[in-house]
């Protein structure tokens, strides 16, 4: 936590010039600090950008201001009024409107009804459709969008739905507008229209705060940029004091804590690639990606959320029925997996990102979860042998550092780290040749993280091929032999760590370059 920060103006502005004043805001999510007491100010009539790596705390901060998240500590004043946390309606009364990244439109209603959702214009209890129509057309003209007011929202493109969301945010004449990655699904012309509108609103005195991963956009649009890192502010300064490299440096930090690099066994040369997939395409998510994994190799995939890294894993695991590509295993052509069962048949096992929704059956014991889908391996004539299951699940649990006397515990009662070990044990139990691991260390403590990464390396040393996706780029670097960088659904770089160890900056540079070229 060194001094990239402290570029704040020496004299604090007068309170009545501030749209937002946050002091000592802290947010704790079951043991981990997402925000470690940050101070942020925004002057009236400015555009303020929040940037940072995934998990740095910027979205949490935005959620607090939006009135959606209740911070554990700290105060926020909006236009010199105390903020009431956790009551979105109250936030709206203070003049705050939020445009979320995940769409909140009602698909069955018309475009116009969506824009005026919850804030209809009415006349003595009757809807004033004419006034709403007029305002809708006014907004549409300002934003140069051509959405028919009567169009059913669910049938519009994602970009149009996003525009509706934005129209809803600004139709009420809010004085503080919050945007969570407003441009991710917008095409360049729509993006331009949005920026034009934002500048115009700024001219009218509206204050805006937005989260973005697109640094070009940040530098182009904002008056002030605030950088978050690990729940702290690592810098907040007027636009003129920032450059793109300076932003990346502030996002990554000088004092990069090296993830412990795991020692690896020497690789056996000359073996055929364990997995070779070419031209992997998932419509709307990734396009024409090639990936090779050799025996004993860990391949990391770097990239930001939405870059298509999870789609790539899902496609290889047979979870994207619309995906296409060619696959060969051990040098022999294999059927492109269209169901998880087909992928399993080829020896491909996925450890999914979302433990609770996709990975575990929370109401069942750890050993049941380890054996799920392979109950035949612990049974005779369809009858499960409890002793066999106990013994076999203990063996894999031990491998991942999971206390083996707890295999009977209901998974719901385990910590995140132990749940993750159960998931890896479950994958291991199926005897995979290729292990796909999505976010293996999300939300778990450092000790468990280290154990998990060490075990993955040991599995690779035993001849498995492993693909790891993680938002923690340092972890990707520490764990993998080779790194594919993805951005906007394409592979944009491949970094071989055998020739040269990669740095986080290399991955970010590669990932951001694509955004520039659009």
């Amino acid at each position: 936590m060194q001094s990239t920060a402290s570029v704040l103006p020496a004299t604090a502005p007068e309170p009545d010039r501030l749209a937002l004043q946050a002091t000592g805001v802290e947010m704790r999510y079951s043991g981990t600090l997402a925000l470690k007491g940050v101070d942020v100010q925004a002057e009236k009539g400015t555009i303020h950008a929040l940037v940072g790596e995934n998990g740095a705390g910027k979205s949490t901060f935005l959620g607090i201001i939006a009135g959606r998240v209740v911070p554990t500590r700290g105060t926020v004043r909006i236009f010199d009024q105390p903020h009431v946390f956790g009551v979105p309606r109250q936030a709206r009364r203070l003049g705050i409107a939020t445009i979320y990244q995940e769409l909140t439109i009602v698909p069955a209603l018309s475009a116009q009804a969506n824009v005026f959702l919850g804030q209809v214009k009415s006349h003595s209890g009757l809807l004033d459709e004419r006034a709403m129509r007029r305002r809708f057309e006014e907004l549409a003209a300002e934003m140069s969008v051509s959405i028919r007011p009567d169009a059913i929202a669910g049938r519009l493109s994602v970009a149009d739905q996003q525009m509706l969301e934005i129209m809803r945010g600004i139709q009420s004449g809010a004085k503080l507008l919050l945007f969570d990655e407003p441009t991710t699904s917008l095409a360049p012309p729509e993006r331009e229209a949005l920026f034009r509108l934002m500048r115009q609103l700024r001219g009218e005195g509206t204050t805006m705060m937005f989260v973005s991963h697109n640094l070009e956009e940040v530098l182009d649009l904002s008056d002030v940029v605030t950088v978050f890192r690990d729940g702290n502010l690592s810098g907040s300064a007027p636009r003129s004091e920032w450059t793109k490299p300076a932003l990346i440096r502030a996002m990554v930090g000088h004092d990069v804590v090296e993830n412990r690099r795991v020692e690896r066994a020497p690789r056996k040369p000359g073996a055929a690639p364990l997995l070779m997939a070419t031209g992997v395409t998932v419509p709307g998510a990734i396009e024409n990606v090639d990936i090779t994994v050799n025996p004993g190799e860990i391949v990391g995939i770097g990239g930001l959320v939405g870059s298509g890294r999870t789609s790539l894993l899902r496609a290889l695991a047979g979870l994207e029925p619309r995906s296409t590509g060619t696959l060969s295993i051990n040098g022999e052509a294999a059927k492109w997996p269209e169901t998880p069962r087909e992928a399993l048949k080829s020896g491909i096992v996925l450890v999914p990102e979302d433990r609770k929704a996709q990975g575990l059956v929370l109401g069942m014991s750890a050993m049941d979860n380890i054996a799920i889908g392979r109950f035949d391996a612990v049974s005779r004539f369809g009858v499960i042998s409890n002793s066999k299951m106990n013994q076999k699940s203990r063996a894999v649990a031990r491998e991942f550092g999971f206390a083996e006397n707890r295999v009977g515990t209901i998974v719901r009662n385990l910590s995140g780290g132990n749940q993750q070990k159960v998931m890896l044990g479950k994958a291991r139990f199926r005897g995979p040749r290729i292990l796909l691991v999505d976010e293996p260390t999300r939300g778990i403590d450092i000790g468990a993280k280290d154990e998990i990464m060490t075990t993955l390396r040991r599995l690779a040393d035993d001849g498995l091929g492993i693909i790891v996706v993680s938002s923690d780029l340092e972890e990707v670097i520490a764990a993998s032999d080779r790194i594919l960088v993805m951005a906007e659904g394409q592979k944009v770089a491949e970094l071989d760590q055998a020739t040269q160890p990669a740095k986080v900056q290399d991955i970010l540079n590669a990932a951001f370059k694509v955004m520039t070229h659009e």
Binding site: P340, G359, V361, R374, V383, I384, K426
Partner: protein, 326 residues
């Protein structure tokens, strides 16, 4: 119960929490014990062997349906068509008892109810119709067919040997009780000890995780409907055998009762949780209540009101217990 709950570490006293957990988990057993005590006071003859035989043989048909219902609900489904399949089983059995004999007619019931179950399973898994709507619809269709098949007339076979299953006794106990117990034991064994049963828990508990693990979730879920239909057909068969007649309106309250039995036991409507012994307790609670109400000559209409209140109370309690446990 050696797994002390994790949350106890945060609380100073872990012992009361432990007993609270036990209480929450076996609440339905305590409720049954309480009911038995109350029954013994209100109606002392409740434990008389003849009364017990009566309770069990009367509740055999619906109890068998409840075994199937337990499978569907643990698998995350729901089946409202059991009453119609029950009635169909009754009329098919009674109608075919003369031409095919006792066992031939029983075979026909098995075939007919299996077909109904396959239809339910396909509609739910292939057409992806919500189970509630799907079985509401097929229930209407199967029920209608039972009336068409029987010409809406009571089916009374000439050969009274078809009453063997419902009226005869082995060693002084009605055969229907043996069938009931056998179905429960088989159901409990399959659910608790077989790979098939364990996969049903996984499917109901987290369909997506089960699918990702390579469990054929559609086949599995469809099979639970087949099993329930089979149980319903057998239940209808036993009732018609006991009454000596098969009628298309016999399934009236079977759906509500069998769901009530499963739910009172504490099997979750959300799937993935529950056990066969819970259903057994649920059956005993409903059966004892009915028996005591009947013997106290309480009007059937009041019984319906009481049953409804008990079902809702049981589900609300279950949701509450779940909430404070996690």
């Amino acid at each position: 119960m050696s797994n002390v709950p994790i949350s106890s570490a945060a609380k100073p006293a872990s012992r009361p929490l432990f007993t609270r957990d036990i209480f929450l988990q076996f609440g339905v057993v305590w409720a049954f014990v309480l009911l038995l005590v109350a029954s013994a006071i209100l109606y002392p003859r409740v434990f008389d062997p003849n009364n017990v035989k009566n309770i069990l043989s009367q509740s055999a048909p619906v109890g068998i349906v409840a075994v199937g219902m337990t499978f569907v609900m643990i698998g995350g489904g729901f089946d409202l068509s059991v009453g119609a399949i029950f009635a169909l089983g009754a009329v098919v059995f009674a109608h075919l008892a003369d031409p095919l004999g006792l066992w031939g007619a029983a075979g026909a019931v098995v075939v007919a109810s299996t077909i109904c179950g396959v239809i339910n399973g396909l509609i739910v898994t292939k057409l992806r119709v919500n189970p509630f709507v799907a079985t509401l619809g097929t229930g209407s269709a199967f029920g209608g067919y039972a009336f068409i098949y029987s010409d809406a007339a009571p089916q009374v076979p000439n050969d009274f040997s078809f009453q063997y299953l419902g009226t005869e006794a082995w060693f002084g106990w009605p055969i229907s009780i043996y069938i009931l117990i056998a179905v429960f034991l088989i159901g409990a064994f399959v659910l608790a000890r077989c790979t098939y049963g364990r996969s049903i828990y996984a499917t109901g508990g987290n369909t997506e995780a089960a699918r990702l693990s390579g469990i054929p979730v559609d086949v599995l879920r469809a099979s639970t409907y087949v099993m329930t239909a089979l149980c319903s057909g057998i239940g209808g068969m036993i009732l018609s055998s006991r009454l000596g007649v098969g009628q298309a309106d016999m399934g009236g309250s079977i759906a509500l009762d069998s769901i009530a039995i499963v739910v009172i036991g504490g099997t979750s409507l959300l799937g993935g949780e529950g056990t066969m012994w819970r259903t057994a307790i649920g059956l005993l609670i409903i059966a004892t209540l009915t028996n005591v109400f009947d013997s106290l000559a309480i009007n059937n209409n009041y019984q319906l009101v009481a049953k409804g209140v008990i079902v809702i109370g049981a589900v609300a309690l279950d949701i509450y217990a779940r909430r404070i446990r996690t």
